[in-house]
């Protein structure tokens, strides 16, 4: 049996990838994918613990996260399209009107 720490390490790696991608990339769609990566990293650790502890809580949480992520994908992509229509760019550093 694969030790639990491997799952958790994979989960942490996925999450770290997401964070790094989010902080370093400029393209909105890349950021969006980074977010998905982070969510799935967390999902993985949920599943790991749920399996390990033999409860259903973690599974249910994962379903919720997936539902929310699906909704988020719909809304987020809509926002990205409309940002591109108005600004004609997907560079987040240039989408900075909301400031003092």
């Amino acid at each position: 049996m694969i030790p639990i720490s491997w799952y958790l390490l994979l989960s942490a790696f996925l999450f770290a990838c997401g964070v790094t991608g989010f902080l370093t990339k400029r393209n909105l769609i890349t950021l969006f994918m980074s977010i998905e990566l982070m969510l799935n990293g967390v999902n993985l650790s949920f599943i790991t613990f749920a399996t390990r502890l033999g409860t259903l809580d973690g599974h249910i949480f994962v379903f919720f996260v997936m539902v929310v992520a699906a909704a988020e994908a719909a809304v987020g992509l809509a926002i990205i399209i409309s940002v591109y229509r108005t600004r004609e760019t997907l560079n987040v550093d240039r989408v900075n009107l909301l400031k003092l």
Partner: protein, 672 residues
Amino acid sequence: MTTHFQPWLIPILPLVGGLINGLFGKRFSKAAVATVALFFTAASFVVACGHACILLNSGADALETSYGTWIRAGSFSVDFGIYLDHLSMIMMLVVTGVGFLIHVYSVAYMEHEGGYYRFFAYLNFFMFFMLTLVLANNYLLMFVGWEGVGLASYLLIGFFFLKDSAANAGKKAFITNRVGDFGFLIALFLLIQHFGSLRYATLIDITSHFPVETAAGFLTAIGLLMLVGACGKSAQIPLYVWLPDAMEGPTPVSALIHAATMVTAGVYMVCRSNFIFSRAPIALLAVAIIGTLTSFFAATIGITQTDIKRVLAYSTVSQLGYMFMAAGVAAYSAAVFHLMTHAFFKALLFLGAGSVIHGVGGEQDMRKMGGLRKYMPWTFATMTIATLAISGIPPFAGFFSKDEILWQAFSSPHGSKAFWFLGLVTAFMTSFYMFRLLFMTFFGEYRGAQPEAHSAHGSHDDHGHDSHQGSPHESPWLMLGPLVLLGVLSIVGGWVGIGHRFEHFLDPVILNVSADQNALPSAEAAATPAGGEQEAAGGYTDTEHLLMYLSVVVALAGLGLAYLLYIKSPELPAKIAAGIGGLYKLVLNKYWIDELYGAVIIGPLLAISRVVLWQSVDQKAIDGTVNESAVAARDVSQVVRMQQSGLIRSYAGWIAVFAAVVVAYMVWMGTR
């Protein structure tokens, strides 16, 4: 109590009139405003007369009714109650009666002024508060009326509020009164603390167990504090300074508020509180001393003034001093008697002066009058009656009351020869300056320049109209009617005092105090033999007769001197004034009391207010705190707002950093 006994109507009727005029008067015609004001005042007078009859027929000492509780706090409670006894009966009849006559007079006098409805609304409000003051059954309700008449007085003094001097005079009156009210209020607190009640009947009952305080005790303190309040309202030394300035108001206001009724509230209060004052001889002595000094000093100032209303104002202060002197020698009935006759003749004098001012087109300086006898015979006749009355020449009203006061000052156990002597000198001066006023105004040649009379308008008069005429003219009948009625009252008003009848009339109010004055047997001993001798000598003792003749002689001497100086040889006064230059200037400038107050009290007060309270406390401390915290918030925000860069990745970085911090913290906590 029968269903006819509805004394609450007496104060409420003028209030209704005042409300109608105050709220809707702007849309009414002048005739409608006048009708409303007159109707409700007259109705109040009629109801007051009815209740006076009820009281007299009932034979009771006092009728008291309560219309519900106003304040209840533990065992202490205050009612909306009415207390009708012989004292409040006289006061309410004077207030409503004289008040009504003055309302009638005002209809014509204020005809050409702006704010007609405002004037009558204020006047009716004044009547309401004055009647509340007089009819209340406890000190707190009296205090409501007390403050209310102060407010009405302020509003009416400053009636011509566009004039700076009028607005300032209003403020001066109000603020000076506040000083007095402060004393009165403390007296009420002391009453609550010591007796737990402010109801007259309860207090009379409780205090009857107290002996006369020979040393200064709390009754003395209450008495002295009440005296402070009375000094403010009744314009006694040292708070008299507001009354002469109050003459900035329209003349009917001077007549009603600053001569006949409101300023006598202090006298009424002292008489009402006789159960306290009679047990506090020290407070009583203070009343007498203040009264005597005021009457004397005000009379000296009155001699030199040239403004017709100011002469009358100082004369009012002086006569109020007389009343205080009477109250101070425990001759409360004499004080109330003089209060009543004074209300008649002083209202008449002021209304007459108003008629004169009206007639000569707004001029108030007596040096620019003269010879008006020919132009205004009715005004002249009534003014003469009033002058004779105030000078104390029989058989006019003032003689009886003033003589009563002088006799009491001389003979009362609380009195002294010094009071009597100063009173007599004051009587001489009163007679002198009143005839001076009469002679300067009505005799000789008219000294006002006809065409110029218009240009003087608005400069220092309160009555700048009548530009349609050149020479002096008699006033309309609407104004003369009240003059004639008051003239009749000024003649017959004193006759009720013949044979000490008036004194006994007030016995129910005063008696419950002197009856238990066992601790001061001399008071009883001195009072009763005098009463016993009355039967033999037709009501008066020989000494009393002698003093009576003396005061008449003194009054005639004043008349004679005025005649000599202002009719026989009119150039003499200037020479005398030049001869005693310094003294004359001192008196002419009212002893520089206003300037003294200005330098000693108002100046430092203003300086402290400006430098410490305004510039230091308000501007630096309070404004400073507020402004500095605003500046600090702004400065912090300047730094913090840098965080809102609009860069999503910067936000995400912060979130990541702090999330890491939180996680690290939790891990660290978990490992402990």
